[in-house]
């Protein structure tokens, strides 16, 4: 008996060999890292060698010029206005696109695939590219920013909403089919009530994103608070930039809180 016991003790399972997927993955990751670091000439040396130069600037950032904020009021109204208009129309078009981008509501498989493809192209361009395009079309100003965010929002709202549509409860759909509803009324009465709370939450989320994106939008010529930051930065008025950035931080925080409150209410 004791021999059997000893055999059982010795039978401790061997440590499994690491999976080939893991090894290959790690090697690829390491290779990409080395190549990427070489490509961008990655180094932290400047942190030590140029720290004194940089610190002069950082020190000016630590003394924000609060009085400049008096003039930032209009820019903030512009930024929030851009975000409201672009979010409203963006999520509206996004909702319609979402119905086309889900097999639940779109019975045509070619149409579904085309919409999916179109949306992924739409989302693959960064917001700044849209700003540059619209600045070229309608000139520097808030219109360019609004249009850019509008297009950008369609992509996000459509993606999030179409995924929600994919996951709706099939019960109402079967009921609608059994009652012989057409594609449109089926989407309106069997799908829309189910996705509405989520959709409203996405709309608020898109609005938050638009406020956050305002720096980028303005920097590229889309107007609003970002434009002001860009102008002040180009003039080396770091104290003013610092005050603007802090105001930006506060506004984003307030809007996030408000939007989270409403999101809890609707869902």
């Amino acid at each position: 008996m004791s021999v059997v016991d000893a055999a059982q003790v010795a039978a401790r399972p061997k440590r499994p060999a690491p999976s080939r997927f893991l090894i290959v993955g790690l090697l690829i990751a390491a290779a990409i890292t080395v190549w990427a670091a070489w490509e961008i000439e990655f180094s932290l040396a400047e942190l030590f060698s140029h720290f004194a130069n940089g610190w002069v600037v950082v020190e000016r950032f630590l003394h924000p010029n609060w009085s400049y904020l008096d003039r930032a009021g209009t820019a903030w109204v512009e930024t929030v206005s851009i975000a409201i208009v672009a979010s409203f129309f963006g999520v509206l078009v996004g909702l319609i696109m979402a119905y086309f981008a889900s097999t639940v509501t779109n019975r045509s498989s070619a149409g579904y695939r085309f919409t999916k493809w179109f949306l992924s192209v739409l989302r693959s361009l960064p917001d700044v590219a849209y700003v540059l395009i619209f600045v070229a079309l309608v000139g520097v100003g808030t219109l360019a920013g609004t249009l850019a965010l509008f297009i950008f929002n369609i992509g996000i709202a459509a993606k999030l909403t179409s995924e929600t549509i994919d996951a709706v409860d099939p019960g109402p759909l079967e009921a609608a089919d059994a009652a012989g509803l057409g594609t449109l009324s089926r989407a309106r009465w069997a799908v829309q009530p189910q996705i509405l709370p989520n959709f409203l939450s996405y709309a608020l989320y898109v609005f938050e994103l638009n406020i956050r994106a305002s720096v980028v939008i303005g920097y590229a010529g889309g107007g609003g608070i970002g434009y002001l930051i860009q102008v002040q930065f180009a003039r080396f008025n770091y104290e003013n930039v610092s005050a603007l950035v802090i105001s930006m931080f506060l506004v984003v925080l307030i809007i996030d809180q408000l939007s989270q409150y409403f999101r809890r209410r609707v869902s």
Partner: protein
């Protein structure tokens, strides 16, 4: 009798709920949008230009893409576009690596089931602050004065920006772990470090790697944004092309960005699904949402 019965059931149809909330809500919304359209100071009369000018430029862009890519000056354009894109991808990758390395300890410190509550609160506030500030601000405030213009500064800005989201997601993944393995390790007398490594880290590793890959996908888009302020990559090239209104070059650049981004998204998405195949699928939607917050 039967006639009264039917009238009773006919009357018993429930009353439609009041619509005053929807009415008020939509009125406020319309007022907000109208106010927004007015206060944005947008030159709405220029809106038709989008359609009149847009087609012309779109045609020029398409023409640029369709030209023989080996003829002058298009070969030069394609070369610049691909080099810019490679630089952007490198920035995104290094940024993700920096973010990943820094976010792991912060993620553990921000998880309620790992760290005492007061530490969690402080670290969460710190992560939230980072999450609120766009990468662009990090780049212009902290990095340009020290690192100057270039891809290196861009990669660092992306790295700092990534810490906020990755740290938060790692902490949430840790809080969602099964407490069983922790109890087992503790019962077997494992030291704290072993519990972190073998009970907690093993459980969240697939999910965390999926977060990193997702962050890489976002960083590719974000690196284009940083490029416009001079942090290198395809964004810088794009900014220059727009300055000179070289529409055929712009077309080639946008085409390259779209193709490479979709390609990287597809590969990275496939790897992510392979990594978290089976378990962890529940967190996918959360990650994707978080990730859209470029």
């Amino acid at each position: 009798m039967s006639s009264t019965d039917t009238t009773v059931t006919a009357q018993a149809r429930p009353q439609e709920p009041g619509k005053w909330r929807i009415t008020i809500g939509s009125t406020v919304l319309v007022a907000l949008v109208a106010g927004g359209a007015y206060f944005s100071n947008a030159d709405w009369h220029k809106l038709p230009d989008v359609f009149t000018e847009g087609w012309r430029y779109f045609y020029l862009m398409i023409r640029g893409v369709l030209q023989n890519p080996f003829s002058e000056p298009y070969s030069e354009y394609w070369l610049q576009a691909i080099n810019g894109m490679l630089e952007s991808i490198s920035m995104a990758w290094i940024g993700t690596m920096i973010g990943a390395v820094l976010s792991v300890p912060l993620g553990f410190l921000a998880a309620r089931n790992v760290t005492p509550n007061w530490v969690v609160q402080i670290v969460r506030v710190f992560l939230n602050i980072i999450r609120t500030i766009p990468e662009l601000i990090f780049a212009i405030i902290l990095l340009l004065p020290i690192f100057g213009f270039g891809a290196n500064a861009g990669a660092l800005a992306l790295g700092i920006g990534a810490v906020g989201t990755l740290g938060k997601l790692t902490a949430e993944a840790l809080e969602g772990t099964d407490p069983g393995p922790v109890e087992a390790a503790r019962a077997a007398g494992a030291p704290g470090s072993a519990i972190l490594r073998w009970s907690l880290w093993s459980q969240v590793l697939p999910e965390v790697i999926a977060f990193w890959l997702y962050r890489f996908e976002i960083n590719i888009r974000a690196s284009a944004i940083l490029g416009v302020i001079g942090a290198g990559g395809v964004g810088s090239v794009l900014g220059q092309a727009f300055r000179y209104r070289e529409w055929d070059f712009i077309g080639i650049l946008l085409f390259t960005i779209v193709v490479v981004t979709v390609l990287v998204d597809t590969v990275s998405g496939a790897v992510r699904h392979r990594i978290i195949a089976g378990g962890g699928a529940h967190s996918e939607n959360k990650v994707e949402r978080e990730a859209l917050a470029v």
